[in-house]
């Protein structure tokens, strides 16, 4: 059978970010796949060398729009690693709470996109509905829905308001209940099973050879988790690392659902600890000595790695950043070959390549306390009716004829 080449991207309605896939197929089967990157290259490492340490933290927060806390988390770890800075206990709990809530909303976003990719839009609407309250918690805790700007060398930049605890508990209860429901649905739903079970298998050997990390590796039976292995803040918390054996897309979905439930448990432990632990939340660091430091953190997608070399000035001499997708995306070479083209897209998306956009949907209320969206709807209907009236007098357009038929 003759080979056929299908170019996908760099700008394509199915890809949320610019990247180019060169897929070669024989009939339905994918036989070769090449990827070209570079459309999103912004030179953060070079920019960081021209900024002070505090500015660098806010700069690296802008790398990703979804897991925006993971980069500052790792960057502050790297800066603290140079001088072995101690962090106050309250700041450690605040860091964990922010990190885990972000993991919840990032996994929910992936679940929705995965449902959308396989044409199962019900899952997409459910999960994005449950993601909204999590973003609202962020708005209450930090003032921002996406870039929380909570991290500083030696602690966090704002304190957690203990009065918010009674508001957050019901959201966590709701999330746990709904995630158990989705986990149950994934077990029984014939659509999810038939589209995901046994699709895009990444074996344990391949995961180790490609140096995969995060949920991609854990779903293939590789037991690694930076939160447990590196310790630091997470030594304060009891949690389980979830590892699944099969390595297919179905296991990656189930693993993320189970991780959300685990993150809810961690967030509850933090909420229980906040009233008991008072004191300072920032250990002010005035100077970073010459040396080199490595910091890492388990982002929702895997291990984020930051390396900082300091020469004693207020700017890093070298700031190396490695996002988890950098290690996880090349695994397509092992998981995508030999599968049908329709399954290739969900397999490519299964490593959760980073998407830089979030929807914002909040009800706007006008000054009379009426919901503005209804006004907008009425206005839109009126406008359509006016256009129809105007068009009715004139000659019919080709589009009108199509509708008549």
């Amino acid at each position: 059978m003759s080979k056929c080449r299908i170019p996908l991207g760099p700008f394509h309605p199915l890809l949320e970010e610019a990247e180019f896939f060169d897929i070669k197929v024989e009939g339905e089967k994918v036989v070769d796949i090449e990827m070209e990157t570079g459309w999103m290259h912004r030179g953060h490492e070079k920019i960081s060398e021209t900024r002070s340490y505090t500015q660098s933290i806010f700069l690296v927060e802008r790398i990703c729009g979804i897991c925006s806390t993971s980069h500052p988390f790792a960057a502050t770890h790297a800066m603290e690693d140079i001088d072995n800075v101690e962090i106050p206990e309250r700041a450690q709990y605040i860091r964990i709470f922010i990190g885990e809530m972000e993991r919840i909303h990032s996994h929910l976003l992936w679940l929705g996109l995965a449902g959308h990719f396989i044409g199962y839009d019900t899952l997409w609407m459910w999960t994005w509905k449950y993601r909204e309250p999590v973003l609202q918690i962020f708005e209450k805790v930090s003032g921002n829905r996406n870039h929380y700007a909570m991290f500083r060398v030696g602690g966090v930049s704002r304190d957690f308001d203990n009065a918010l605890i009674p508001e957050i508990h019901p959201v966590l209860d709701m999330l746990e209940k709904k995630m158990l429901m989705i986990a149950g649905a994934a077990k029984d739903d014939p659509v999810l099973r038939s589209r995901l079970k046994g699709v895009g298998v990444l074996t344990k050997e391949d995961a180790i050879n490609y140096c995969a990390n995060g949920p991609t590796a854990r779903a293939s039976g590789v037991d690694i988790d930076v939160r447990r292995d590196d310790g630091l803040e997470y030594n304060l918390i009891n949690f389980d690392v979830i590892v699944l054996p099969n390595g297919d897309v179905y296991d990656k979905l189930v693993l993320r659902v189970l991780e959300i439930i685990e993150s809810v448990k961690i967030a509850r432990q933090c909420l229980d600890a906040f009233p008991k632990i008072g004191g300072d939340y920032l250990n002010k660091v005035k100077h970073i000595s010459p040396g080199e430091g490595i910091g890492r953190y388990e982002a929702p997608r895997g291990e984020v790695f930051h390396y900082i070399r300091s020469d004693g000035s207020n700017r890093p001499l070298r700031h190396k950043i490695r996002a988890p997708s950098f290690s996880n995306i090349p695994t397509y070479k092992a998981s995508c070959l030999g599968i049908p083209l329709a399954d290739a897209l969900i397999t490519l998306a299964a490593v959760d390549p980073c998407y830089c956009c979030t929807e914002r949907s909040i009800r706007v209320v006008d000054k009379n306390n009426k919901k503005l969206e209804h006004n907008l709807l009425t206005m839109s209907r009126e406008k359509t009716a006016n256009i129809k009236k105007a068009v009715a007098g004139s000659e019919k357009t080709p589009i009108d004829r199509i509708f008549e038929d």
Binding site: E36, T37, G38, W39, H41, G43, E45, K46, D81, N84, I208, N209, Y210, C211, A212, N213, D223, I224, D229, D230, G231, E292, G293, I294, R296, E303, F305, Y307, R309, L317, R318, K320, R322, F326, S327, P330, K333
Partner: protein, 149 residues
């Protein structure tokens, strides 16, 4: 340091110089000829995972720092290889560890370090960018700037 780490440093004591030890981070210098053997031991015998590599330009040359993570103990082993500023060349470890493929391409792209033995050494990030020609490596201090057309 774990038993595995002590064994490693005893085995390669004549090939390792300038060891900097911190509680969970160990940096040491190795020669270009030995990086294959040391990477082989770290990844296959000790079961470490290659996190990433960092290339840095310093006053007397370029250096590449490999970050091997021992996930059972949380310790980073970081061998450092140095090379000159003119025609920098280092032995590739991609045939040994597939995960090193992209990062070696990135270091070739941004710093111009040629990795000997890499199966497909081409630029990674600036490959499609008309502002960067083939011999323009943007992270170098004295870079060979592409002329504006």
């Amino acid at each position: 340091m774990s038993d595995k780490g002590t064994e490693f440093f005893e085995k390669f004591q004549d090939k390792i110089t300038k060891v900097i030890k911190k509680p969970k981070r160990i940096y040491f210098n190795v020669k270009n000829e030995d990086i294959w053997e040391i990477s082989d031991y770290l990844s296959n015998t000790m079961g470490c995972r290659l996190s990433v590599c960092t290339a840095t330009e310093v006053y007397d040359g370029l250096e590449v720092l490999y970050h091997f993570s021992d996930d059972t103990t949380g310790i980073y082993y970081s061998p450092r290889v140095k090379t000159g500023l003119k025609n920098p060349e280092i032995n590739s470890i991609t045939p040994l560890i597939e995960g090193a493929n992209w990062i070696e391409r990135e270091m070739y792209d941004l710093f111009g370090i040629k990795f000997k033995g890499h199966p497909d050494l081409k630029k990674l990030l600036t490959i499609n960018n008309p502002h960067f020609s083939e011999d323009d490596h943007p992270m170098r201090f004295n870079r060979n700037r592409t002329k504006e057309k």
